[in-house]
């Protein structure tokens, strides 16, 4: 089967401290993969390396067969990689719709247009509202981000990634800080992601994450210590030891 993401012997150090220390993994197209590991395991660093925000010290990253190890984040987005951030990274003074429009523009040639008013492109705004509808935020489309609740901002993060119709979606702790009901909403949002989209998710909440992902990769100190199905991971004594603290 074709791979959406292939990582080979990836290494990245910060000031001599290895954050990613020879990671190899492959995610098949359409797969839902969970990235598990304690704090400091290198999960977010791995995301930053995939999207080009960080340069690897060594190793290869292939996204849909294309080498992106020396790529730029904007080019990566054009290859069809969408991502959300663990720490919410939105445009707080803009409305939800404006945030999504920026996401839509990012993968549209229209982003270079200096000669027409942005407000004069009703199709963009219509699409933005449609995407907000998919995550249950249609009613708040005109509200500035800073006036919305934290849970709504988490869903907006997802909406901005979905707006770009990514083929590979990197979700960095989408459930972080959400209440019980908000978790249910988020689960519904993630469940509605089209099947053909490959999803790689970092999440600590085992219950929601394990029900979402088919396969799990466990990272520890920048290394893959185990990869397998939910049952294999939960049964593995080493994983229980370092991650579940038993």
């Amino acid at each position: 089967m074709a791979h959406a993401l292939e990582i080979n012997e990836l290494r990245k150090s910060f000031g001599g401290l290895p954050a990613i220390n020879g990671v190899s993994l492959a995610v098949a197209e359409g797969e839902r993969r969970l990235l598990l590991g304690p704090n400091g395991a290198g999960k977010t660093t791995l995301f930053n390396l995939i999207t080009g925000e960080l340069r690897p010290d060594g190793g290869a990253i292939r996204v849909f067969g294309r080498d992106v190890a020396r790529g730029r984040p904007d080019r990566c987005a054009h290859l069809g990689v969408g991502r959300t951030y663990q720490i919410i990274t939105l445009f707080p003074r803009s409305t939800l719709a404006q945030n999504v429009v920026l996401a839509l523009l990012g993968v549209s040639p229209r982003r270079w247009d200096p000669l027409t008013a942005l407000s004069a492109h009703p199709s963009l705004w219509k699409r933005a509202r449609a995407v907000l509808g998919r995550v249950g935020l249609a009613a708040s489309a005109g509200k500035p981000v800073m006036e919305t609740a934290y849970g709504e901002q988490r869903r907006l993060e997802i909406a901005m990634a979905l707006a770009q119709a990514p083929r590979l979606l990197l979700l960095d702790e989408p459930f972080a800080g959400l209440s019980r009901e908000e978790r249910r909403d988020m689960q519904a949002v993630l469940g509605a992601i089209p099947r053909e989209v490959t999803v790689l998710m970092i999440e600590h909440d085992m219950d929601v994450a394990l029900s979402f992902a088919e396969r799990i990769t466990v990272l520890h100190y920048g290394q893959v210590i185990m990869e397998g199905t939910r049952g294999e991971i939960v049964a593995n004594p080493r994983v229980r030891e370092i991650y579940l603290g038993e």
Partner: protein
Amino acid sequence: MKLGAPVFAVALLLVPLIPSPYYVNVASQILIAAVFASSLNLLVGYAGLTSLGHAAYLGVAAYAVAWLTTLGGLGHLAAALVALAVTTATAACFGVLALRGTGLAFLMITLALGQILWGIAYRWVSLTGGDNGITGLTRPQPFGFDLTSPGAFYYFTLAIAAPTAAAIALYVRSPLGAAVQGTRDQPRRMSALGHNVWMVNWITFVFAGTGAGVAGILFVYYNQFIGPQTLNLTNSAEVLLMVISGGAGTLLGPIIGAATVVILKNVVSAYITRWVMLLGAVFVLIVVFMPEGLGPGLHRLWHTRSKSTS
């Protein structure tokens, strides 16, 4: 508020009816400064890049027109177009250098580049006339109109300044303008969304340079003289003050800032010898009471007042 724009437009057209040519000239200066400040506002307000070398582009365009129409023997229209091209090219090169950094690094590089041009203007006597600058410039006669009178030159300035301001307004409201403001607030996010942050900033830098070039052409025709003091750091600082005092990141702010500075400089200096001190005091007051600038500050005051009266 709907009446604001047409009233403002009519007021702009009626300025030359002021009997004193002195005040008509002040109005022309305000228009030129407004174009200059609005172009810098693209960088400072919308891209979040504080430049302390914006006089460079005004100066390059002014020197180019002065040199081309006197020593170069070019016609006015050709000279203006060549001057704009030279200014844009200068901004394109300087942008590549300055955008290696952001924040303080960007500010220092723009300052250094501006000082280099000032040094060239001052020292390369055979090209720039050195300290004496370039004189002997005549105003153009578009379609046979004589621009020697303050009123005629005011209309000429307005005819150039208004479309330039409109182009700047369109730019910040365009998709590219939205990207510029996005990169100001969340560069990492914009990059991850597929926007080329560097290129977006560079295009804005070049456009800001071209805008300052338009101001430079008007400036040199207004003064009919150009000297190295135009490229002085104080000029770059002054236009930055116009933007910040008027309200960076708003379309009207730099225009209000330009009017404030030009009026203080020209009118108040006629009555008070220590006008520079007064200018300083006014800026301190603005920063203390309206840190967001005069434009947004007055807007806020107006709204709180109309709310409390209703």
